[in-house]
Symmetry: C2
Subunit: 452 residues, 2 copies
């Protein structure tokens, strides 16, 4: 929270404590809802949270509520009278209500549904049934729908009359008698068009839309690609059922990126915020991959054990194991993360695999040669190892880097080809595989070059 | 590209080849500019790219141009006549022109500037001087500015007259005589307000704004926090100089995430697209960290060498080095990536460090204990190693995991405390450090428990 907003919020609390209701309401109206919600999070005492929330002017309290964390939302919902709860839900956008209810225990959901009118109750139930992360679960029903036979004058009247409750009025969607989406028209176009123009003559029929079951990631891609600020959502019969606005998509993009980053670090993604997540929750999302990778590392142990005679012949080789496996692992991580990210952004396609492999292999050759050369000099000058040992280590380094770059490129693409998420083939998984492969290369080269 | 758009584009090319200019223009008007730009990318022959671009209807060609890649932009700019180039630049939004020029060689920049009128030339030069990734370099000057003494009628007339060339008309900014920002009013509010209302009576003075030198990451955070679709940009004297719209911010968020992901994989970020980046470009962005980490791994070699007598006493210990360093590295990666991402999103603050360390240490204890138990059983049952060796490896595993979790949490926070980017303290860097530390723990425990 900015210093300025923190000071505003502290004044607000002081006005509440002083019982200066009128000044409080005036000050609150000057604050942004998200700042009030964030200020509330820092108040520990439940009674004070409830008191402050109740004092808020009616027209901003539902906005503030939408931004509050679910613990405090639950607190407010449980302490509210039935009438207060109904007023709150009536004032909120449907997508915010659904987001709120998804986090609530059954008793709160029941209390809210009992106090909603029948049509709202039906809608909420329908929305709660859309699959998580689908366009349906993201959308809102507060949109402006026009008919193609409206004139601009009629459309503007309609927007003036109903638009105040809509999430956006800047893109209006045009539907036919069966509520099928036939086009869209921007408010910008409406305000410059002559009033007698028909909507059908100025509407754009090139409307980008999503269906309720589309994954939110696909919808976000459409926003990015077409620079949209809202998108129409239709059911399977192309009937308009809702819209998604850009502010929710910005959250989706951030969420999806966090998910990808976690997967790349071998963490099972969860929606829980870090500060809310308990120790056992974190363990449950980290231990499975740690366990899988520890057991996979048995392969490395087996390789070392079966080359024990080589190691016994030149004990000094052991000292370079961490450097070799580490460098190969780092190179493999660089490649895999590059490929995974580029596939996620649609910059690299599966069909490019040969071109990508060729590029990565060449990068590996150059990096490997540079590292091997530096390593050879360093070993000869500083470590005083024999030239043969230095050569074995450096040749291994060179080959292991090229191998790692190739594996780091092929594994994520292979995972995608098999319909798996490429992100699980990032650093830790690649490291484990590359470890074993580097050791194998190391011992084979040592056997040949040292004649062990 | 969607199948549907691909087919549309193929038809477009066929119409061009058949020389059916009218049908071509009609079809082109039905396509979305970004799809045409993407279709163009797949045409290899330069002459055909130029031909198709020249045939495009005037009102969409500048949009298509904005979406084209810089190689093709250069092709078009070089082949255009002075008059064509002037028309193109006049039609483009200033921020798109600046983006385009930033990628062009000096001769093209000169050609464009020579053909721009003086005021545009001045503006372009000014924009090219804003620091990269600053609000100034992102903003556009095509915004609607109102005065607080305007009536709604006058404001709407003004928007109708000038709005068609503005990047957004949905949030209008209100300035005073000195062009200082005093508030904003949404078009939604304007269209429902009585025509005789004064702007000062309906404007919102709680305007979120940025200054030209603000970093784009900070601006993106404001968009996310306040659900903005545009933001006002002011100079140091609070004079309105531009706006930034959400479509550019969506790109910024994606860009910043890519940058963070690359840093976490020990890659020096670059703006170059993967498909355009040459082998030596990729090497230049990967080799430095590989080299630093290889040299840091000398520490591991030194540790192994100085414990040579321990290893000679129990050669079997060597076999478990990759498993131990690997598991500790993976655990360290999980923690560091979690902390880095949470700090980037503002969920974890530096002041939380003790609370975070305490949580991560406990997660480390639980994960470490689980891994150690499974490893002990596995070694006893499948590997046939002695109980003492199994115990040494398992105790090391347990301690190394707790150490790795603590290091993975402290290093990124320490980096931030020192004003460095925490993202460089992710997987590869942590792995290198944790490798050496695990080995030290391993040999010390072996010395004590095996009495070597």
């Amino acid at each position: 929270m900015d210093e300025e907003f923190r000071k505003d919020f502290e004044e607000l609390v002081a006005l509440m404590d002083a019982g200066r209701l009128l000044d409080f309401k005036k000050k609150a109206a000057d604050c942004l809802p998200v700042d009030i919600a964030e200020g509330l999070e820092e108040i520990e005492e439940k009674a004070r949270v409830i008191k402050l929330f109740r004092m808020l002017p009616k027209d901003i309290s539902s906005d503030v509520f939408s931004y509050m964390n679910s613990d405090q939302q639950q607190l407010i919902a449980e302490s509210a009278t039935n009438a207060e709860l109904k007023a709150l839900v009536d004032d909120m956008f449907l997508d915010d209500t659904v987001d709120f209810l998804e986090e609530m225990p059954a008793n709160v959901v029941k209390k809210v549904l009992q106090n909603a009118d029948e049509s709202t109750r039906k809608l909420i139930n329908q929305f709660l049934n859309y699959p998580e992360n689908s366009a349906g679960s993201l959308m809102t029903i507060e949109y402006v729908d026009l008919r193609d036979y409206f004139t601009v004058r009629k459309a503007m009247d309609y927007i003036r009359r109903t638009g105040i409750d809509k999430e956006t009025v800047y893109t209006c969607y045009v539907i036919d008698e069966q509520r099928r989406l036939v086009g869209h028209v921007s408010l910008r176009k409406l305000i410059v068009a002559p009033e007698s123009t028909y909507i059908r003559d100025i509407m754009d029929t090139n409307t980008v839309s999503a269906t309720t079951t589309d994954d939110q990631e696909v919808v976000a891609e459409d926003f990015r690609r077409y620079d949209l600020t809202s998108i129409a959502v239709t059911d399977k019969e192309n009937r308009l059922v809702g819209i998604i606005t850009i502010d929710d998509i910005v959250d989706v993009i951030t969420e999806e990126n966090t998910e990808d980053i976690k997967k790349m670090a071998a963490i099972i993604p969860s929606d829980e915020e870090y500060s809310d997540a308990g120790v056992m929750h974190l363990v449950a999302h980290r231990l499975p991959w740690l366990m899988i990778m520890m057991i996979s590392a048995t392969l490395s142990s087996t390789i070392i054990t079966s080359f024990e005679s080589v190691l016994a012949g030149a004990v000094v080789l052991t000292a370079f194991i961490p450097m070799l496996t580490g460098s190969a692992g780092n190179s493999g991580s660089q490649t895999s993360v590059t490929i995974i990210r580029n596939m996620a952004l649609g910059e690299v396609e599966l069909s490019d695999w040969l071109r990508v492999l060729w590029k990565e292999a060449r990068v590996g050759v150059v990096c490997g040669a540079a590292l091997a050369a530096v390593n050879f000099l360093r070993m000869m000058i500083f470590s005083g190892t024999s030239m043969m040992i230095s050569a074995v280590v450096s040749v291994t380094l060179m080959i292991a880097i090229v191998m790692a770059a190739s594996v780091g490129c092929l594994l994520p693409m292979g995972a995608k080809r098999l319909g798996l998420d490429p992100a699980v083939m990032a650093s830790p998984m690649i490291t484990t595989i590359v470890d074993a492969a580097s050791l194998l290369i190391y011992f084979m080269i040592a056997t040949v070059m040292l004649g062990l």
